[in-house]
């Protein structure tokens, strides 16, 4: 140990003592339910490990996170899980159903954050993009109109089996300008999907499927999450017309106050740009700090959902619209799937 680090460590000892004294009213361990995969690892490395180093509080991760699970947690009256990861429209739905609590932002004391990430009911911790990608060497589409043009761009497609990851792109392919997507013209979007459906081999449910199907040469063009394909030379991709979205952490309704106090501490860690940079090293998704870009490797900026050049060409998910219309659209989606 160098002398200087030793001195610094010794100086910080009393501080740790004070902190743990203040922390007596809070839990030493809380549980979260997150979406799993590399994203979960990024939470561990970026936020949980630093929290543990600073405060000794441990966070146990579980996955996957579905709204049904949250409803079951709350309705059964159980309080073991404090933090729950929710997609943007799912967060609005959870709020409507009364499954999550307001966040006490004064207790979180966050560093600077993008405004949409600082929601009354959710901490927006991770931006991710849904984009077009293809097997390297394929003819490269520049827009959704080209992606949906199976004559000029021959090859099998793999599309998400979720309407909110498909219809916005289909509407763009049908000619809707990107800044006028919402309220979404659902019928027009389905009309476009009907044109392409015979060329869609697989409708994916799990984010790992599209890159694997590209590698197996089962399909040549996919719509997928950016973090699954960027940085791999086997794939080409384009953020143009893509969808930027934000994943939130909410506080499960009726959580114990001491668990909430610990959860707010984790949220504080999540707001720090240096931690977000660590998380972005595990998966190419970015946190909500406006200062984050400066901490990311320059040569990799093009891979991230919120870097300037990418943010400018994508649209942002309209969570309120989906929360209001999601169920009706879903019925149409099931009917569409029956027509395949």
């Amino acid at each position: 140990m160098k002398r200087r680090t030793f001195v610094a460590a010794a100086a910080s000892l009393p501080a740790v003592g004070i902190l743990s004294g203040a922390a007596r009213a809070q839990s030493r361990e809380i549980r979260m339910i997150e979406s799993g995969g590399a994203s979960g690892d990024s939470i561990q490395v970026g936020y949980i490990d630093p929290l543990k180093a600073k405060t000794g509080i441990n966070v146990v991760r579980e996955s996957p996170s579905s709204l049904g699970k949250l409803r079951a947690l709350v309705e059964s009256g159980q309080t073991s899980t404090t933090l729950f990861e929710l997609g943007s429209s799912v967060m609005v739905q959870a709020k409507k159903l009364g499954l999550i609590e307001k966040i006490d932002w004064d207790a979180v004391k966050p560093a600077a954050m993008f405004p949409e990430a600082k929601n009354e009911y959710g901490f927006g911790y991770q931006y991710f993009s849904t984009i077009m990608a293809w097997k390297a060497g394929q003819k490269e589409p520049k827009s959704w109109a080209e992606f949906f043009d199976t004559k000029a761009f021959p090859g099998k497609r793999c599309l998400p089996d979720y309407p909110h990851y498909c219809l916005g792109f289909a509407a763009q392919a049908a000619g809707v300008p990107i800044d006028k997507l919402f309220p979404l013209d659902v019928d027009l979007a389905f009309k476009k999907l009907n044109e392409i459906k015979k060329d869609v081999s697989v409708w994916w449910k799990a984010g790992a499927q599209p890159p694997q199907l590209l590698k197996d040469n089962e399909v040549q063009y996919v719509i997928c999450w950016s973090g699954r394909v960027v940085g791999d030379p086997a794939f080409g991709m384009n953020f143009a017309g893509g969808k930027a979205d934000l994943s939130y952490f909410g506080i499960v309704k009726n959580s114990k106050p001491e668990d909430k106090a610990a959860a707010y501490k984790l949220m504080h860690e999540m707001s720090l740009p240096e931690n977000q940079a660590k998380a972005a090293g595990v998966i190419s998704y970015t946190g909500p700090s406006p200062e984050l870009d400066a901490l990311l490797p320059k040569d990799k900026l093009w891979q991230f959902p919120t870097s300037k050049q990418n943010k400018a060409v994508q649209y942002f998910e309209d969570a309120e619209w989906w929360a209001a219309n999601g169920e009706a659209v879903n019925k149409k989606w099931e009917a569409f799937k029956l027509s395949l």
Partner: protein, 276 residues
């Protein structure tokens, strides 16, 4: 068996009975009840009305029935000749054949389903062999359609048909067939007039069992169907996990349960005939 030994027998199974009632039957009743209940409103039939208004859910149920029927027919087409062939094997070979039929039971259904991707994919064993032999130019699309789902489901469920069928077949007395032959019946007549009718109850019972199991299949259609083959269990997953509209899911489940019970009642009748 006298009365007192019967009651001791009951006390032995009582713990299991209690466990089944508390951990399985009551939750199922609660689940079925969900469809008739709305918070703050009490009893309601809205969720069933919702089903009638959104025929898409019922159409998915219809689609599930159709696929299950196809998979059952495929199972019968493969399973019957297989069981018949096994009956004719010498004892030792018969044991090996049974082991081979049962073996897939020991492998996780997930692994078996993914194995089909390796075998039947565009760059898979079958397609590469076909192209190497010059039989096809482009890969044949086996997967991510109803064909893939049918193959996968037939593979998983084959033992459920073959084993009871085989058991019924080896019970058939060879002397019956010899008697028919000695009376001058040609082999085909013996098969259709004597052998087949004797196996029919077991065949019907096995086929119904396979059909019922098909109705609730989730993993195989999800993986081998490529999202193109909507089945009721995948729809229920969406309604329970994503939306989450448990009441609607409960109404659909109730209808599925009723259909399954009806088929099961038919199965019981046939099964009783088969074992009689």
């Amino acid at each position: 068996m006298n009365l007192s030994s019967r009651s001791t027998g009951f006390s032995f199974i009582a713990p299991l009975l209690v466990l089944m009632v508390v951990a399985f039957n009551l939750p199922i009743l609660y689940m079925l009840g969900l469809a008739f209940w709305e918070k703050g409103q009490g009893f309601t039939l809205d969720h069933y009305r919702g089903l009638a208004e959104a025929p898409v859910y019922l159409r998915v149920l219809g689609n599930t029935m159709r696929i299950s029927l196809i998979a059952t027919i495929a199972n019968v087409a493969i399973g019957y000749p297989l069981a018949h062939w096994m009956r004719g094997l010498p004892n030792r070979a018969r044991l090996i054949a049974i082991a081979l039929v049962v073996l897939p039971f020991w492998v996780s259904i997930l692994v078996r389903t993914y194995a089909w991707i390796v075998v039947l994919g565009n760059g898979g064993l079958v397609n590469r062999s076909l192209q190497w032999l010059g039989l096809t130019d482009a890969p044949v699309q086996f997967l991510y359609n109803e064909l893939g789902v049918t193959i996968g489901m037939a593979n998983v469920l084959l033992p459920f048909l073959v084993l009871p069928l085989f058991a019924a077949m080896i019970r058939i007395d060879d002397r019956l067939l010899q008697a028919a032959a000695s009376l001058g019946a040609p082999p085909r007549t013996i098969f259709w007039k004597v052998y087949f009718p004797l196996t029919l109850p077991a065949l019907a019972a096995g086929a119904l069992l396979v059909f019922i199991l098909c109705l609730g299949f989730y993993v195989t259609p999800a993986i081998l169907g490529g999202g193109r083959v909507p089945m009721i269990s995948n729809l229920l997953d969406t309604l329970i996990n994503q939306i989450p509209r448990w009441e609607q899911a409960s109404a659909i489940s109730t209808i599925l349960l009723l259909v399954t019970l009806l088929i099961f009642a038919a199965y019981r009748r046939l099964d009783r005939k088969a074992s009689a």
